[in-house]
Symmetry: C2
Subunit: 133 residues, 2 copies
DNA sequence: CTGATTTTGCAATCTGGTTGCATTAAATTT
DNA sequence: AAATTTAATGCAACCAGATTGCAAAATCAG
């Protein structure tokens, strides 16, 4: 249940937050702030913005920079702690502009040049998604 | 010589373009539009913008979305055709905010779920760079 | 040199992201 | 349950980066 999911992450379950969580839950693809704003009637951009920030801080959702210019958000898996083990590949469809979490593919470890220490990474594949092909 | 490098890519070698190319050539790290604007006295943002667009279209430079909010640009290697074989990893330093091309590390090929066809990818590692560590 | 084409510079606009602040809602205390 | 404290919301305003229209200037071809 949504209320519980918020409480588990120490987020006060207000009406707005429940709506946003439900919306993200029901979406197969990651959503941007403006997409949420469009989808949810009489919602306020600033409220949505702060809602997403809070959700992200408390590791209920993660943000994805898919290169489209606007940041997308998607629900984390239940036990997610948003550290490197939880990071996964994303796919951005150049036709429908949807962005998918490929949760079962992690980011490969690569040996960087001496002196470069990495603690996170962003890997986005671009092309044509299942629905558009 | 810079003029030749432009001509080879079918870009008319104007004064401004030579200056921008020189600046990118001399920079060890990728540069954003606003960084260029700051660095180059009495330069115009719109001109720089269109210069970078033209350079990118004609495959003289490539753009990097490092997640910092502004797109960075870096010179391509001489024979670059900007297809998947030329794509490489980038590194974004969270301390000095510099972004480096790691030209000798390509993007790993991963098997995506059925129906997802990728033709390009963006892989950015974040952490602390050589100069900052 | 002259006309055609491209580039430049300036101002203006757009979009996504972000903040200040007063109001409202929720949680806590009495 | 009322009072008090604390957090969330809604509105307007702002900001930065990206982008465009347009007239003036520079470049190129004949």
């Amino acid at each position: 249940m949504f209320e519980n999911r918020l409480k588990k992450r120490n987020i006060r379950p207000t009406a707005m937050r429940l709506i946003v969580l439900k919306e993200l839950y029901e979406s197969e693809v990651a959503m941007s702030l403006s997409e949420l704003e469009l989808k949810l009637e009489n919602s306020d951009k600033a409220t949505l913005y702060r809602t997403l920030k809070k959700f992200e801080e408390n590791q209920l959702i993660h943000s994805i920079d898919d290169g489209s210019g606007s940041i997308k958000y998607a629900l984390c898996d239940e036990g997610c702690t948003c550290d490197s083990k939880d990071q996964h590949v994303h796919f951005h469809c150049e036709k429908c502009l949807s962005t998918y979490c490929i949760t079962n593919i992690g980011i490969p470890q690569l040996t960087l040049p001496k002196g470069f220490i990495s603690n996170s990474a962003n890997l986005v594949f671009k092309g044509i998604c299942l629905s558009c092909s």
